[in-house]
C-alpha cells in the first residue's frame, strides 16, 4: 500500500466526501484511520447486532409480545407464521411451541402490581378466565424448568381444583403450606406462573389476546 508513504494529497479528501475541508494538521495516521472507518463500522455494527441478538434470546425479549395485566403471550406463536423472535427464542431454549389448535399459553413473571414474583410473598390467583375446554396453571423457573417440591404438586388443572359454590376459585401460590388450592413456590428464588388454555375459542390476534379477561395475581403476606 502506498498510502503510508504519500503525503496528504489533494486527492485524499475525495475519499471522504462529507469532510471536504480536512484539517491542515492531519498527518498520515488520521488518513489511515479515515480509510479504516468503513471496516470499523462493519466490525462495530456486527458486534452490536450479535450482542442485541444474544440479549434478546437470553431475556426472551420478543417485540411482538402482548402484555395483558401481569401476563405475557405471543401472537401466532403456535402457528406456521410464528414470529422470527419467538422462533429464535424457542430454538435457543429447546422448548416445544404450544400449537394454536391445541391451546394458548400465558406467562407471568410479576404480580398484578408489577412486582417480580418472589417466594417471600404469598399470591392469590383468582378471577375470570376465557372459556377453555381445560386449563392448567403451573409454576416454573424463569428458564422453564419445573420447580420440585415436597408436596409433588407442580400444576393445577381446571378439573382438579376446589371451587366455591358459585364456581369461582382462588389458587394460593406460596412457599409455605396453605389450605385449599395451594401451588407450592420456591422459598428463595424467582419463578414464573404459566397459564395454558386448551381448546379455547380465544383468537390468536394481538387484540383478542390483549383484551382477554385473565386472572389477577395479588401479593399478600410479603415476609421481610
Amino acid at each position: 500500500m502506498a498510502t503510508s508513504l504519500s503525503l496528504p494529497s489533494p486527492a485524499a479528501p475525495a475519499t471522504h466526501p462529507v469532510a471536504p475541508h480536512p484539517d491542515a494538521d492531519r498527518t498520515a495516521w488520521p488518513a489511515l484511520a479515515l480509510r479504516l472507518r468503513p471496516l470499523a463500522v462493519l466490525c462495530l455494527g456486527a458486534g452490536l447486532g450479535l450482542w442485541a441478538t444474544a440479549a434478546t434470546l437470553t431475556h426472551r425479549f420478543d417485540p411482538a409480545a402482548i402484555r395483558n395485566g401481569p401476563w405475557t403471550t405471543w401472537p401466532n406463536v403456535g402457528t406456521a407464521s410464528i414470529d422470527p423472535y419467538a422462533r429464535a427464542i424457542q430454538a435457543r431454549s429447546g422448548e416445544i411451541a404450544l400449537v394454536a389448535a391445541e391451546g394458548v399459553m400465558f406467562v407471568a413473571d410479576r404480580d398484578s402490581a408489577g412486582a417480580p414474583l418472589s417466594g417471600r410473598c404469598t399470591y392469590r390467583v383468582s378471577g375470570p378466565l376465557p372459556y377453555a375446554r381445560l386449563w392448567t396453571l403451573g409454576l416454573d423457573t424463569a428458564s422453564g424448568e419445573v420447580v420440585d417440591n415436597a408436596a409433588r404438586r407442580h400444576a393445577f388443572t381446571s378439573t382438579g381444583i376446589v371451587r366455591r359454590q358459585d364456581g369461582s376459585f382462588t389458587i394460593e401460590v406460596s412457599s409455605v403450606v396453605r389450605p385449599g388450592n395451594w401451588l407450592p413456590a420456591p422459598a428463595d428464588s424467582p419463578f414464573i406462573l404459566v397459564l395454558r388454555l386448551y381448546e379455547t375459542p380465544l383468537g390468536t390476534t394481538p387484540a383478542e389476546l390483549g383484551a382477554a379477561a385473565l386472572p389477577t395475581i395479588a401479593a399478600t403476606d410479603c415476609a421481610g
Binding site: 458486534g47 400449537v99 422453564g144
Partner: protein, 188 residues
C-alpha cells in the same frame, strides 16, 4: 463544529444500520444454527419413528423446558425423505388428547385434538408437497378421500402427543400414549 458532528453522526448511523441487518439476519438464522433445539434434544429421547414417551415434566430428566406438568406426552421424530408418515392416535372418550406437528427448525405447522377424531382415532397422513402431489394424482376419482393430509414445510421434524386423562392419572395416560403410532408409508 458541525463539520465534524455531521460526519460522525453519519458514521454512527451506518454502524446502527449494519447492527440492525446483522441482528435481524442472526435472529432468522438461529433456528437453523442452534444445536439445542427441541428436535435435537428429542433425538436423544428416541430412535427412528418410534413413539417415545417423554419423562414427566416434573422430573429432572425432562429433555425440553416449558412443558405442562399436568400433561403426559410422547413424541416421534420423522424424516419424510423415506416416504410419507401415517400418524394415528387412539382417543379415549372424555380424555383431552392433542397431536401437534413441528418442523425441525421449530415451525409448529399443524395441530388437532380429539374433536377431530373419527371412530375413536385421530389419523393424519404427513407428506412433503411433492409426495402429496403424487398421492393426489394416484387418487381414484370416484371415491371419497378419508385421509387428513398435511403438507410438511420441511422433510424433518417431530410429532408431539399430549394426553390429560379425565380419570385414572398417569397409568391411564401411559395406556393412551401407548396406542399412538407413527409409521412410514412406502406405498408410493
Amino acid at each position: 463544529m458541525t463539520g465534524r458532528i455531521v460526519p460522525a453522526a453519519l458514521w454512527a448511523l451506518a454502524t446502527l444500520f449494519v447492527a440492525g441487518i446483522v441482528h435481524l439476519g442472526s435472529v432468522l438464522l438461529v433456528p437453523r444454527l442452534a444445536t439445542e433445539t427441541a428436535f435435537a434434544r428429542l433425538s436423544a429421547a428416541g430412535q427412528g419413528t418410534s413413539v417415545t414417551p417423554l419423562p414427566p415434566a416434573s422430573g429432572a430428566q425432562s429433555p425440553v423446558p416449558f412443558r405442562d406438568a399436568a400433561l403426559s406426552s410422547a413424541v416421534c421424530r420423522y424424516d419424510l425423505s423415506g416416504g410419507p408418515l401415517r400418524v394415528t392416535a387412539g382417543v379415549v372418550h372424555g380424555d383431552f388428547t392433542a397431536v401437534s406437528f413441528h418442523s425441525r427448525t421449530g415451525r409448529p405447522f399443524y395441530g388437532l385434538t380429539e374433536n377431530s377424531a373419527v371412530e375413536g382415532k385421530i389419523e393424519v397422513l404427513l407428506a412433503t408437497a411433492a409426495q402429496l402431489a403424487r398421492i393426489e394424482a394416484a387418487d381414484p376419482g370416484d371415491e371419497p378421500i378419508r385421509d387428513v393430509r398435511i403438507a410438511a414445510p420441511e422433510d424433518e421434524g417431530f410429532v408431539e402427543f399430549d394426553v390429560l386423562p379425565r380419570v385414572g392419572g398417569i397409568a391411564s395416560a401411559e395406556r393412551a400414549l401407548a396406542s399412538m403410532s407413527c409409521k412410514v408409508e412406502r406405498t408410493l
